[in-house]
């Protein structure tokens, strides 16, 4: 009974702290709710269509003109420039008017007529891989189409006919099925990965900000009343965790099932499966954030120190660089983060339509993380409360710089406190505690009249 009351007290207290802290609300609501939508808008188009290319047609024959027209007709490419020579084309590319050059050599036509191999040179702008991909796919498709035409023509000339030509042109056919993301759309690829990253990162930043605040205000991390020191670990950890958990189950449902619907992402799994994934993921994220927020000493430092982890976590999901090719150390490192498993499970289930059993190994991993991080967050709460508190007090007593509480009492006119923050040597310290030059120029602070010299 007492347990439940304490739990409820911590839970509501934490919720109150969340909703009275504008910095945390910005992160939870603006970033958590706004960013997924923003990414949906930014990557609305998904593919790069009709990329401008220049053609240098040295052949000037009907065959080369036909090749150029076929290039222009592809979805990927659009021939916007016809350049006289390579120098001109290179200049167009350098000015970024075109992102690729196709050079048709002078002997293109005559070689084809002689039934030899003709070559076409392509030059792709590598400043973005989408340019390269469009260039390669567009040119290859045109080449393959032209090739079968030419092959059939040549066989007909050689005296073959009908069925025989078809057979000799392609004795073995091949087709490709690209079931989940037919056009290699960047939207589906990127959004599928980034959505769940937002859950973990915003939660970690928010929790760390609140933990940092509590530390700065001199309260201990777990917010445990003094008389229950060391005995109410589980209720405080679970109480604090529940506040974030409730909030983030809501945000999670929004991110994992409403945003994909708005952004037009494929949703190939039932809502139930998404809920199961969120249950595991949000719980893992909560304990992950609680455990790691212990290393944040000051409220604001979390961004300064850990914002770079967002792109790092994104890469660790293996959405871009394949996980099978991670170096061993980084593979192990990626297991620290709940996002690694959750994003993979989300891609597999939501986009590729795997069922929940097939995502089982990711769920197991998340389950292990939940246990480990729960124990870690209990341990850190225990450490701060019991042994930690005594240790901390002793340390702070000796070294005032380590005591975060002193910032509260630091005021501009209390020279001694500033000396503690910035370690001002005694001779630099203002003996009267006022700032003469500043006051001469700008006047005194309101409320400070009558003090000082």
């Amino acid at each position: 009974m007492q347990w439940a009351r304490d739990w409820y007290g911590t839970f509501t207290g934490e919720l109150k702290r969340i909703f009275t802290d504008s910095g945390v609300l910005i992160i939870f609501l603006l970033a958590g709710l706004g960013y997924p939508l923003l990414y949906g808008i930014v990557y609305h188009n998904g593919t790069l269509d009709d990329m401008p290319v220049a053609v240098v047609d040295n052949s000037g024959s009907s065959a080369s003109r036909e090749f150029t027209r076929a290039l222009d007709a592809t979805r990927e490419l659009s021939v916007v420039r016809s350049c006289a020579d390579m120098a001109e084309a290179r200049q167009c590319m350098q000015k970024r008017q075109v992102h690729g050059i196709v050079m048709i050599p002078a002997d293109f036509d005559s070689r084809l007529a002689r039934m030899e191999q003709a070559a076409v040179s392509t030059y792709a702008d590598m400043s973005s891989f989408l340019y390269y991909k469009n260039m390669t796919m567009g040119v290859n498709n045109v080449m393959l189409g032209k090739m079968s035409e030419i092959q059939a023509g040549r066989l007909a000339v050689a005296g073959h006919a009908g069925e025989e030509i078809r057979m000799m042109c392609s004795p073995l056919r091949y087709t490709s099925e690209i079931p989940y993301n037919r056009n290699f759309s960047y939207t589906i690829f990127f959004l599928s990965a980034v959505l769940l990253i937002v859950v973990q990162q915003t939660m970690f930043y928010g929790v760390s900000m609140l933990s940092g605040t509590m530390r700065e205000e001199g309260r201990c991390l777990s917010g445990m009343p003094g008389e229950r020191t060391g005995r109410g670990i589980s209720r405080t950890v679970l109480g604090r965790g529940a506040a974030y958990w409730v909030l983030y189950m809501g945000i999670g449902i929004y991110i994992a099932s409403i945003v994909p619907a708005i952004a037009g992402l494929p949703q190939n799994t039932g809502f139930g499966n998404i809920m199961v994934l969120l249950l595991f993921y949000v719980t893992a994220c909560t304990f992950f954030s609680l455990a790691f927020s212990t290393i944040v000493r000051h409220r604001e430092t979390v961004f300064v120190l850990f914002l770079f982890m967002s792109p790092v976590c994104l890469f660790l999901t293996g959405f871009a660089w394949p996980a099978s090719n991670f170096p061993g150390f980084w593979r192990l490192f990626s297991y620290i983060f709940p996002s690694t498993f959750a994003v993979r499970a989300f891609i597999d289930m939501n986009t590729a339509g795997a069922d929940i059993a097939m995502a089982g190994r990711h769920m197991t991993a998340l389950g292990i993380q939940i246990i480990v991080y729960y124990l870690l967050s209990c341990l850190s709460a225990y450490d701060e409360n019991l042994s930690g508190r005594a240790f901390w007090r002793a340390l702070c007593h000796r070294n005032p710089r380590l005591n975060s509480r002193h910032y509260e009492t630091t005021d501009f006119d209390a020279g001694s406190d500033i000396s503690r923050v910035h370690r001002v040597s005694p001779e630099e310290r203002n003996p009267t505690g006022t700032y003469r030059q500043v006051e001469e120029r700008y006047g005194r602070l309101p409320g400070q009249e009558g003090t000082g010299a």
Binding site: G23, A118, V120, E177, V304, L307, S324
Partner: protein
Amino acid sequence: MEFICNVKAAMRRELRILRNRPVYLLASIGVMAFCIVFFYTLLKEGLPQDLPIGVVDNDNSSLSRNIVRQIDATQLGGTVMFGSYRQAREAMQTGRISSFCVIPHGLYSDVLSGRQPELVFYVNSLYMVGGALAYKDLLTMGNMVSGGIKLELLRGKGMNDAAIMGQIQPILVDAHQIGNPAVSYNVYLTNMLIPGILEMIVILVTVYALGSELKYGTSRHMLEKAGGSMSAAMAGKLLPYTVLFTAIGIVCELFLYHWAGFPLKGSIWNMFIAIFLLVIACEALGFFIVGLLPVLRLSLSIAALFSVLALSLTGFTFPVEALPACIRGLAAVFPLRHYYLIYVQESIFGSGFAGWYPQMIYLLLFLALPPLAYGRLRRAYINLNFPRN
């Protein structure tokens, strides 16, 4: 003269803070070192080698085994055998393989009797690099196998080899990749991710350094040190950071183009200029943000939200011209976008100053931001009239 003395005094104070609070050096040097090591070693292969490609061999003939060997022999692929289509599909759905190939029953006999059997490739393009590369690999392989069979057929018809090559592959594509001849993802991504992280750090640390004076109420002490002059205080405060970040930036450029040996067509000195411009533009942005919102926690949250967007809107992953029209203009407010355009001109095309001077002007335009917020920040420093927590 007095001004210089004031700047020096403010600078000494800032250096003392830098020394006493490890967060500054950890956030700049520590984070940059981690990111360089992380991205460089993660993408060290350049192009993924031996991607697992599934094969469902329903034929089990000498021809089908030959096909499997050919997939295995390519640099990109390594085969994983599956007993049935279903197993292979499940492996693909769970991301273990990014593509697989189904060899039909009776492939060999169908080829011999001219019934044109069909290989089917399945590609999971949700893991983009792996999917696209495996797709390309399978297409090449299909083309090769088909060509090999054609070669045998045409030889049987009595054609000579030169004529056969003209028949099998009438058009060759000779592909060149400008600026990244090895098609390395390391060159492509690390080249922009490192400056991207630097941009993030510069904005955040600037906001933090300027804002913590407000939070800890030490701004009057800072002004006093600078002889009461705001401009001297700001110059003294920002100078150490400018030097620090520029040094970090130069080390990054040296790392990319000298030690890692990424291709650089132009001059590394111009890249130094570019990274210096990026640093001061980001500092100006940080100053602007903290001036608009002189509350540390709010300005840091805003700075974080802003700077993390830069990586998406710069255009090196997804080109800006393919973004929706309403977003396209937004790319210009990120200094990283202009750095990217300089990088493209200098590193890929080697066009020198003439190619990128407009971007230099845009980056310098960011310096017009601090004066807009200067008065507001000065008042905040003097009056300390904003909430601190």
